[in-house]
Assembly symmetry: C2
Homo-oligomer: 246 residues x 2
DNA sequence: GCAGCCGAGTGCTAAATTAGCACCATGAAG
DNA sequence: CTTCATGGTGCTAATTTAGCACTCGGCTGC
């Protein structure tokens, strides 16, 4: 992807600061954020001050920065602007009867960012804006999304350490090639049309993910289910995906 | 509010473009956006190209710009970053039994931006990211929010035509002073602790709004209710406000 | 109490970036 | 076909930013 003629570096870095600020749970100072993003502290300080000026950041008593009131405006406008969340919530709720986690997410660098993440027994609206980032390579939604990319872009993403997401926990190296490598897994995802992963924590907790066609987002279900159930689940999830795509 | 030392104009203008883009329903071109925001078309074009580069904008077939896939990331992160929407949805749902509209919003310039806007009979999650902007001066939530400002800031806001929100419909002049002027109304709001407005469209459709203390946001209910019911509604809404404030 | 350290914030000038004109190509309207 | 509007870019002057060096304030260890 070529960065256009005269890309505006201030805007790029400012947005990076904003996103890092929003993703970071605790208030954070210019220096610390600068280290995270690989930017000069002075520059970060001035960007943060600018964000504070427009209300997207604010400072606490210790002069650390945290998201400001205008972040709500941005959230509301972003949701309106895309329409995806609005379109998706209804259909996603129709999967609750499966008694599995129901999620929708998008890619951010090498991480999956969850737009919605609902666990059985919760009320529908509790699924919003709660989950942190998760490494895309080991996530069902992440694999479903990465599988829509050309191999070239994936190599590029994982080759360039600077594309690693700054606020995410340090990632373990992702094996791209080889029999159990990411590219092999993604080839399989492409072939069968959906992603099926085991989470590392517990052996029988799995995710089934399907990419949406027009939205660069993916939906899926997670929990304990048997191999026999997979094809049924896949059909349910794909029906919901079709509904969301409209 | 002083704009800090070395405020980053590119960031300010870029964010303005982003917000305008997100608020604007249809795809829009550089020139048109430039006219709306009072910026040079070349500048806008390059800012939009930069936004497109980071995924926050994209171009359609006619090369017009619309919000891009990363806007979802921003929405999710913004929601997470503030926590307000997450905290608020549950308590707001407890007002559904009133059979009134239930809303939460924040101020953006002279407009109310709705974070949530639910009408009776809908499912809870349909209330997200749907309503457009609404002039703060004639909105119950808007008045509740404006009432928390010092008079000075309000005069400033309405004096400076450039602070008018660019994507909102042209506003009719707001009368500040006089018996029915905005400042008089706001004084009353401050005194009684909540806002009560009549919408212009139909005489008996009213809004009751209450500002949240820590969040620069307001919640309220709207619909047809009698004077007798006001004090009861006020209590209900204030209870919910207290819950949200934690 | 004091030194020592770290962080936020800023003045300054060199160095880098952007502004915006002029221009091109394209598509729609008349 | 002409006209008008649009998106887009090359170019250089003019503006903005970079980042060092510094101040100030808070905190820690002693």
């Amino acid at each position: 992807m070529k960065p256009a003629a005269q890309p505006n570096q201030s805007l790029i870095d400012g947005l990076a600061c904003l996103q890092a600020l929003a993703s970071h749970a605790q208030p954070i100072g210019s220096r610390e954020l600068g280290r995270m993003l690989g930017l000069e502290p002075t520059r970060v300080n001035r960007l943060l001050k600018t964000l504070a000026f427009v209300g997207l950041a604010q400072q606490n008593d210790q002069r650390k920065y945290l998201p400001g009131p205008a972040i709500h405006v941005l959230a509301a406008q972003s949701m309106r602007g895309s329409g995806l969340i609005r379109r998706a919530l209804g259909p996603l709720e129709s999967l609750f009867d499966l008694d599995l986690q129901v999620a929708m997410g998008v890619l951010w660098e090498d991480q999956v960012c969850y737009l919605y993440h609902h666990s059985p027994g919760e009320s529908a609206s509790q699924g919003l804006g709660r989950e942190p980032l998760y490494p895309a390579a080991s996530s069902g939604l992440g694999q479903a999304l990465l599988a829509t990319w050309p191999e070239e872009s994936i190599r590029e993403l994982y080759a360039d350490a600077s594309r690693r997401h700054p606020v995410a926990p340090p990632r373990e190296p992702v094996a791209l090639d080889g029999e159990a490598g990411l590219l092999t897994q993604l080839a399989q995802v492409r072939e069968q049309g959906f992603a099926l992963t085991w989470t590392l924590e517990s052996g029988d907790f799995r995710t089934l993910g399907v990419a949406l066609k027009n939205d660069q987002a993916a939906i899926g279900v997670a929990g304990k289910f048997s191999d026999r159930e997979v094809s049924g689940l896949r059909r349910r999830v794909e029906e919901v995906a079709a509904l969301i795509e409209g």
